[in-house]
Symmetry: C2
Subunit: 354 residues, 2 copies
């Protein structure tokens, strides 16, 4: 618990001077002022986060956290639970969507087992795999808390540690993604509970539930909320009762990244739920978050509205893993290159506005 508190205390405000300098530089570059819109705003935000008026994004990292969910026993997912470890192996052999998109943008993927319900056997030491398994999946939240309070703390702390050790390997920006069969169910529960939106509105089809499945999923979420009665004043209690290990891990990554002034690109619905927990723990986190895309998953809009952040794009994606974050990181990198590499009117000998 001390580690979480310390991390939160280290989260500072954006650096207004760096932002002002970055904006001033944007206004001298050879283009009509503000004509690059969000690209300009992003570069200014990154300046504020990094305290550098000409920030550079070189080392890009995507942290994909996996975990299983007891609530999957309730038939709330279109896929069987064994897909979680199977996909972890797919991540490790480079065949998943996140691997492809990470290669595309030149990022490394770090896969973290936060609570997969199977042993992940890594043949040799793999620098891109971290075993932080808290347990073999959460327990079924329709029958009791998903995890103990202590395990909720441990999952966040594990995320903080992952960020810290990965930062040592080089990290100018981090994308956060998830893998876990059934994990839209706890995520919808968290979103409904924290934003106050009706469960029906923030619960979607996940990987492809049919109408019956969706009805069941909504019903189970309501049951879990009624049974567990999370404490609105204690985000860790919310995580413990209706969350997941990978969700807690992502919360920890976000808090720690903010404490180190590293921009965080949030992926979709599950990482968004983790961002809500982080925001409950420390509203300052918001300044460090960049929402990559608007997911198809119902309820993602409620997350972004609650956080007050706008997504960069909407490509009708709903895969998770960090796939949206990867594309978002590339846009952030582009924004910083604009700020750093473009010629000024003076340098290029271009006449200014009349």
């Amino acid at each position: 618990m001390d580690k979480i508190k310390e991390t939160i205390e280290e989260i500072g405000a954006l650096d207004g001077d760096a932002m002002e300098s970055a904006r001033a530089r944007q206004d001298t570059l050879t283009k009509p002022q503000r004509s690059l819109g969000v690209l300009e705003d992003l570069s200014v935000k990154i300046a504020g986060i990094t305290r550098n008026h000409m920030p550079e994004i070189k080392d890009k990292v995507i942290i994909t956290m996996g975990g299983d969910h007891g609530v999957a026993d309730e038939g709330v997912s279109a896929y069987p639970r064994e897909v979680t470890p199977q996909m972890v192996y797919n991540f490790l052999s480079g065949g998943a969507a996140i691997n492809v998109l990470a290669r595309h943008i030149g990022a490394r993927v770090v896969v973290v087992d936060m609570g997969v319900a199977a042993d992940i056997e890594v043949k040799r030491a793999n620098a891109n795999f971290i075993d932080n398994k808290i347990a073999y999946g959460t327990t079924n939240m329709t029958k009791g808390p998903a995890m103990s309070y202590e395990d909720a703390v441990r999952s966040i702390e594990a995320g903080i540690e992952v960020l810290g050790s990965e930062k040592e390997r080089g990290m100018d920006i981090v994308g956060v993604g998830d893998m876990g069969i059934g994990n839209t169910t706890p995520s919808s529960a968290i979103v409904a509970f924290i934003t106050g939106e009706p469960v029906e509105k923030v619960t979607g089809r996940g990987t492809g539930l049919d109408g019956e499945g969706l009805k069941r999923k909504i019903e189970r979420i309501k049951k879990a909320l009624e049974l567990n009665k999370p404490n609105r004043e204690d985000a860790i209690d919310i995580l413990a009762k209706i969350g997941g290990f990978e969700i807690g891990g992502m919360t920890g990554v976000m808090l720690a990244a903010a404490s180190h002034r590293i921009p965080v690109v949030v992926d979709g619905f599950i990482s968004g739920a983790a961002a809500l927990i982080a925001y409950e723990l420390s509203p300052k986190i918001r300044d460090y978050l960049i929402a990559s895309h608007l997911s198809v998953e119902a309820g993602h809009r409620a997350i972004l509205d609650h956080l007050g952040i706008k997504p960069l794009f909407n490509l009708n994606m709903r895969l998770g893993e960090g796939t949206g974050a990867a594309l978002g990181i590339s846009i952030v990198e582009a924004s910083c290159k604009i700020l750093r590499e473009m010629a000024t009117f003076e340098e290029a000998g271009v006449s200014e506005k009349e």
Copy 2:
């Protein structure tokens, strides 16, 4: 004129078999079906364009065409006309936004002088500069046609030639952008005339006109339309009377790219106006066009609606040069990598939907 006709005749339909194979492959990749949304659709479209069910985007080219406009004498731009050649030099020395974004995505930029009102002095042979100057800018369309019918034909033919020669250097995809002080004015005129929307609705502030300037711009566009009376049945007449040399050049690039089955990523408002001319010449062109972004410039939406294509993103950009196209190309490339590089359920030993 023969060259334009021949090019149009060579534009074929999308390859349905390749698209079907690509879609079938997408459905075997380790992700819930359709969970990558537009990325999946894009890869299928590229398969249809290239007749390859696993297309690869390696050689990326952005063609930025520059031209000046007689109508700039009417005070319809916030910047002086000398900025056009100044920016061409900026492109050639790598300091402009398009250079930065092209480097970011690994594309080469080809700068074409289609009608800049100054001699562009390139010190040594520059493989990335092509001199196709039709004239030192168009004439003032509020006083007569912007160019002769013959010059309109020449500008399109020049674009066709540029695409042909650049294709020889390697080109899997092409982005099309513009530079030309005053060129939102002919573009708005073209958009109003072709789409039938009121001039007021499709005329914006360009690089930053004030309210007075905008009023004047609208008035001058109306005057040009009334005076020149373009022939609704002849797209080349429209280009001649209210267009521009770089607009005609981009039209030619688009037609030629389609004839060679090369996907075309359209930038913003000006290249959109060129796409309208191309679409008038051959509606088949639409299948080959990918709209990168929705520009801030009023009237861009009308273009996309008329063409029936959806933009990939909206980052409040309005710079031109091909900057939106560059970011769009990267997304298209990512979509093809997904299709080619992801493991199938079978390859990865991942269980399918229950």
